[in-house]
Assembly symmetry: C2
Homo-oligomer: 211 residues x 2
Amino acid sequence: MAPVTDRRERQREALLEAAERTIAAKGLDGLKARELAREIGCAVGAIYNLVADLDELILRVGSRTLARLDRALQEAEARPLPGSSDPAVEQLVAVALAYCRFARANLPLWRTLFEHRMAEGSTVPEWALSEQMTLFRHIALPLASLMPQAGSADVALFTRTMFSAVHGVLALGLDEKLVAVPVAELERQIETLVRLICTGLLAGEATRARR
Amino acid sequence: MAPVTDRRERQREALLEAAERTIAAKGLDGLKARELAREIGCAVGAIYNLVADLDELILRVGSRTLARLDRALQEAEARPLPGSSDPAVEQLVAVALAYCRFARANLPLWRTLFEHRMAEGSTVPEWALSEQMTLFRHIALPLASLMPQAGSADVALFTRTMFSAVHGVLALGLDEKLVAVPVAELERQIETLVRLICTGLLAGEATRARR
DNA sequence: GCAGAATTATGAACGTTGTTCAAAGGAGGT
DNA sequence: ACCTCCTTTGAACAACGTTCATAATTCTGC
């Protein structure tokens, strides 16, 4: 086979892993072209043969993070807590808490998913969007059972809303921007939030049904 | 009085306004020391007599933005929609929608409030924290009436949660990161979210009261 | 095997950053 | 007028992502 292409692929992999390690250790701002080159043993310029620019590299790291997140959520979904109420509610709570734990355990990598802004003009690649949709199914499926009379478009919209709400609580809670919140309390708040929304949904259904 | 100190103050003000204009027009990344200097008519170095570094400048701009946001929320709070349900619920909805509209009308300045990370090591100044607390009262007051049997610490915690949830929906919705959402739909989603949480709170109260 | 073509690696160089600093300038007091 | 102190200046610095002429390497056709 072509040993050069092979080598390139192996170097690209090494670059990806070096980038992932660096971000995990020092955050997105700690990612420098020269340091990456030193780490994988090549000249700075060579990086731009493996990758168009650092943005592409960051996007690829994000893709890996998203894949790991997907596995974490899948596990949570498969192992629903023996809850007292609707199993769909318990599943949503389990997924939300799994998201919370993943974010905390992978803080800089997780932040990179959202902090990173595309360079002016260029757009988010299509595969990144499809990865998002994959993630959302962990929420959309149980949610649909809590919104029996809603159309699939409404479920999709509210899936996004629900994710964003939980994400917001997590993102601001893990910042030091606002006053710090202990992690245990953060998980409790997220669980409370999810349960409240579910209660609201069920009550709303009941209300509408009663009419 | 000392005309030199006066002049300094006037220049500092000019710097602030130039920075605000620039961020509003070109985003936080468009803020450059050299351009600011040109705009207020001084040498680059002079900026560092008016301000410790660009971080301080950004923080000061943020303070102004926060003050305007406070006024916007105050207006919304004072003019509660003639709602069909609990007036506290209507007030929360009104504040959330006002927040939504402010964010949209001041997009880059609003983003700056959250995008900006403090330089490693330095901490958020105390006055910035107290400004946050001021904002939260718009949520905490109506919320307290929906959580009659909760302690003030619980109300404070959930105030933060509620703000973060709405903020999350807005922040992710105004990004192009996830698939774009039309603004009208975004407002509807936020209103739905707030109402659902309120319904959940009231239903929970009822549940607990019934026990 | 090997010469010529094509591709890839190299690191100095470029253009931008934020920030600093020696030198020049100007205000206030005696 | 002079000295002192503070301010202003813009060249200089360090660090950054990215590029590019040049050198090294690999591939290709014989």
